[in-house]
């Protein structure tokens, strides 16, 4: 049902809209690019449609930012076992964390529809891997839908719920970054009223199945998948277009974003080539695909980020894709890449010679300029910068610095990060580095850094392990009060939940102490001198005979999340004549607001980006960065801006 109202939605918003319109009652998530916006958009639509838990509508919708993806999936799964529709959203790396729950849920199955939204990141743009969740679906033996646009993603949510309830299986919806973060005008639909109440029906042979029963569930799962494949053979989610050109000898199979990219390209080039769109990569409708391939001499397979469809084609003699090296094995299939693939395949077949892109020479000339890539950096005033600066000062170049996933990975730029593997690994790797060096009696400092949200996500088991096995290192928990990198979601310490209701805030100190840590201290890293002294004390504790792991909680709000503390106590600075352009501050402090004036051979403050945190005063050991005197302040800023 259509409401008649149209909005430009982010792909994640379109997915959220689909969830709410289809009567979802429980939605959980852990933030991770590109899937972070799904839950916030669910909360927005929920409010607009009067589905807040405070309303006694019989359709109330519960949401939560869970502590990690495994927890999120299990919460949603249990809700589905009561017969309600449930969904969980995460990024592809999160599915690794939730893998155990996922693989088991494939066997137990569900009652109410369960849709698992997993954002993949071909490129990668904001991820550690280009993992393909469709291959994960194949591994877990679960159906997966692969949308090409936000609009289709919204439609697929409904299809996923129906499929999930028909076959009592969790169903994966796998958008990629260019769907999650695409924008498109979408006509909003209305709420499907299901009128269900939670009712958990005991069935121990399923919900508490022991290995003896698991065999039977596996047989059942295989039968379900066979039936799902049958449904997919005739599903409108798979379709052929541009089949009129009988003369062509080349066909294209495409899914996800490459499907719409190739359609726009064929339009632009005025080419008529048959395309089989696959919206259901697993289980692959093998007869449909084989029939399509049979019609042509060669078939190009375009899919992201890996080869899930191609891998399921038994006879690949006519198939060109990633597996035979035609399509690059890594990176995004951008319009430019697909253009060059089409050009090559058409030229190989003696069919057509595509002209070079009209701005190819310009592109080459720009490339020849070798413009430096501008990677992300910690913001001016970021408290993590102060923490990393202090860690480097106190522990020196010998220290090993394992870190983790979050904004603070950008501590790389200050040489404050030696490793970044996955969520929580800072602590377990600090443990491992300690154990390895300890074998040789080498007691070099090891300082791990981890964010507040990441610590609760996967750091707790690692910390318990490290304490229990007697590892020694300093752990700095960078507590900025929010999940900053993914868009300021609340953490387990927050007093408010995702939807603004009161939460039971957890204490990082108590969590660390509960893991057995006896040295737990909290300090604002902006107090650079005292913070360095605290780190020194922590280092002494780690080395002391009766010592152990020292936890230092560096507490200071993210300046984007809460700029007020800096605004209320600005410390504007200036660079004096004493600056000799040595660049120490640029390397060691690495603030975007410190810039080198090449002509003058001096460092300057970039007033457009500087937020007057005053932290760089400590970063010049020659004393050339000083607080701006009041009268000088008046001159530099003008009277209007002195009042901050």
């Amino acid at each position: 049902m259509r409401s008649g109202r149209t909005e430009v939605l982010l792909g994640n918003g379109a997915i959220a809209r689909g969830l709410v319109e289809n009567g979802v009652r429980v939605v959980t998530s852990y933030p991770g690019t590109p899937a972070s916006e799904v839950l916030a958009e669910v909360i927005r639509f929920r409010a607009a449609m009067g589905l807040d838990p405070s309303h006694d509508s019989g359709q109330a919708l519960y949401t939560e930012w869970s502590t990690n993806e495994k927890v999120a999936l299990e919460v949603a799964l249990a809700a589905s076992m009561t017969g309600l529709r449930a969904a969980v959203a995460m990024k592809q790396a999160g599915l690794n964390v939730a893998a155990d729950a996922l693989l088991n849920a494939a066997y137990t199955g569900v009652v109410g529809g369960l849709v698992i939204v997993v954002g993949d990141d071909p490129g990668p743009h904001s991820s550690q891997t280009e993992a393909d969740t469709r291959l994960f679906a194949l591994f877990a033996k679960l159906p997966v839908l692969d949308p090409s646009t936000p609009r289709e993603a919204r439609e697929m949510v409904g299809e996923a719920f129906r499929l999930s309830e028909q076959f009592r299986l969790p169903v994966l919806l796998r958008p990629t970054t260019r769907v999650c973060h695409a924008v498109q005008n979408i006509e909003l639909g209305t709420l499907e009223t299901l009128g269900r109440s939670p009712h958990f029906k005991r069935e121990p042979a399923r919900w508490a199945a022991t290995p003896r029963f698991r065999y039977g569930l596996h047989v059942e799962l295989n039968e379900k998948l066979k039936a799902v494949e049958g449904v997919f053979e005739a599903s409108p989610l798979n379709s052929t277009t541009r089949m009129s050109n009988a003369a062509t000898r080349i066909g294209i199979i495409a899914s996800g974003v490459p499907f719409v990219t190739v359609l726009d390209l064929l339009d632009e080039l005025g080419l008529d080539m048959p395309v089989l769109k696959i919206g259901t990569p697993y289980p692959l409708p093998r007869r449909l695909v084989a029939d399509f391939i049979a019609r042509y001499e060669r078939v190009l397979v375009l899919e992201e980020p890996d080869a899930a469809i191609e891998l399921q084609i038994a006879d690949r003699r006519k198939v060109s894709g990633r597996l035979n090296g035609t399509v690059p094995g890594a990176g995004e299939l951008s319009p430019e890449v697909i253009y060059s693939l089409l050009a090559r395949v058409l030229a190989d077949g003696g069919l057509a010679k595509l002209p070079p892109a009209p701005t190819e020479a310009l592109d080459a000339a720009v490339a020849a300029l070798k413009l430096p890539p501008r990677g992300p950096r910690l913001c001016p005033g970021c408290p993590h910068r102060s923490s990393f600066y202090a860690i480097k000062r106190v522990f020196g170049p010998q220290a090993i610095l394992p870190s983790d996933i979050g904004c603070y990975t950008l501590g790389l730029n200050l040489r404050g990060v030696d490793t970044c593997l996955d969520m929580g690994a800072a602590i377990s790797m600090a443990d491992g580095f300690y154990q390895a060096y300890h074998l040789d009696g080498d007691r070099r400092p090891i300082v791990a850094t981890i964010g507040d949200s990441t610590f609760v996500h996967a750091g707790l088991p690692a910390l318990a392990n490290a304490v229990h096995t007697g590892a020694r290192f300093v752990l700095v928990i960078l507590d900025n009060g929010t999940t900053a990198m993914t868009g300021m979601q609340p953490t387990a310490e927050s007093a408010l939940l995702a939807d603004g209701r009161a939460a039971q805030p957890l204490s990082l100190e108590e969590l660390a102490k509960a893991c057995g840590v006896r040295f737990v201290r909290r300090m604002d890293p902006y107090q650079l001198g005292a913070f360095q002294a605290l780190l020194e004390e922590a280092g002494r504790y780690v080395r002391a005979e009766e010592g152990g792991i020292a936890v230092v909680i560096a507490e200071r709000a993210c300046v984007l999340y809460d700029p007020l503390p800096v605004c209320q106590h600005p410390v504007p600075v200036t660079v004096t004549e004493a600056c000799d352009g040595c660049k120490y501050c640029l390397v060691a402090f690495e603030c975007p607001a410190l810039v080198l004036n090449v002509a003058a051979g001096k460092v300057e403050i970039d007033r457009r980006t500087c937020i007057d945190c005053g932290q760089c005063i400590e970063a010049c050991y020659k004393g050339a960065i000083v607080p701006l005197a009041d009268e000088a302040l008046a001159r530099a800023h003008g009277p209007a801006e002195v009042v901050l």
């Binding site: 972070s36 000339a365 950096r377």
Partner: protein, 189 residues
Amino acid sequence: MNARVIVAGLGGQGVLFASRVLAQVALAMGDDVIGSETHGMSQRGGQVVAHLKIGPYRSPLVRKGTADLVLGLDATEATRHLAFARPGGLCCVNVPSGGWMAGEEVSALLDTLGISLLQVDADRIALECGGPAVANVVLLGFATAHPASLFPAEAVAATLQRISPPRFRDLNRRAFERGAEAAQRHETL
């Protein structure tokens, strides 16, 4: 309307807001719109680019050599995305008063391809308007005032007013108008 647009800049410069204004203009005119945004890590001061396609398109990505309009909020990022412009297309770039530094070869190729490169010191104008953060709106005003613009200036101005948060409405209107004035001065040069 049928238009393909690239907006390029750095995190914090308002790339997404500028492209969302144009998307809302298309929506108000009853056109289909699809595009792609940059979120996540690269937003921390890194490269941010938005693609926008208005008309009967299905893919969110603009192919190099096909954009009618390239908006550059930062000179380096604009240069990096110049080859997205189509022959005869328009590039409007926020350039500090020092001027353009893309080199002779690039300039010659732009001439050959008939790509108009228009520069404006949007940062300075934004500061004069009372907020360095509105350089994106200055650039929008500048680009839509150009005779080659596919976006009607009145529609963009009206949409900008409609979707601006109330406390930025006046500032944004001033910035948009000052950008348009700068474009008109270009015309008389």
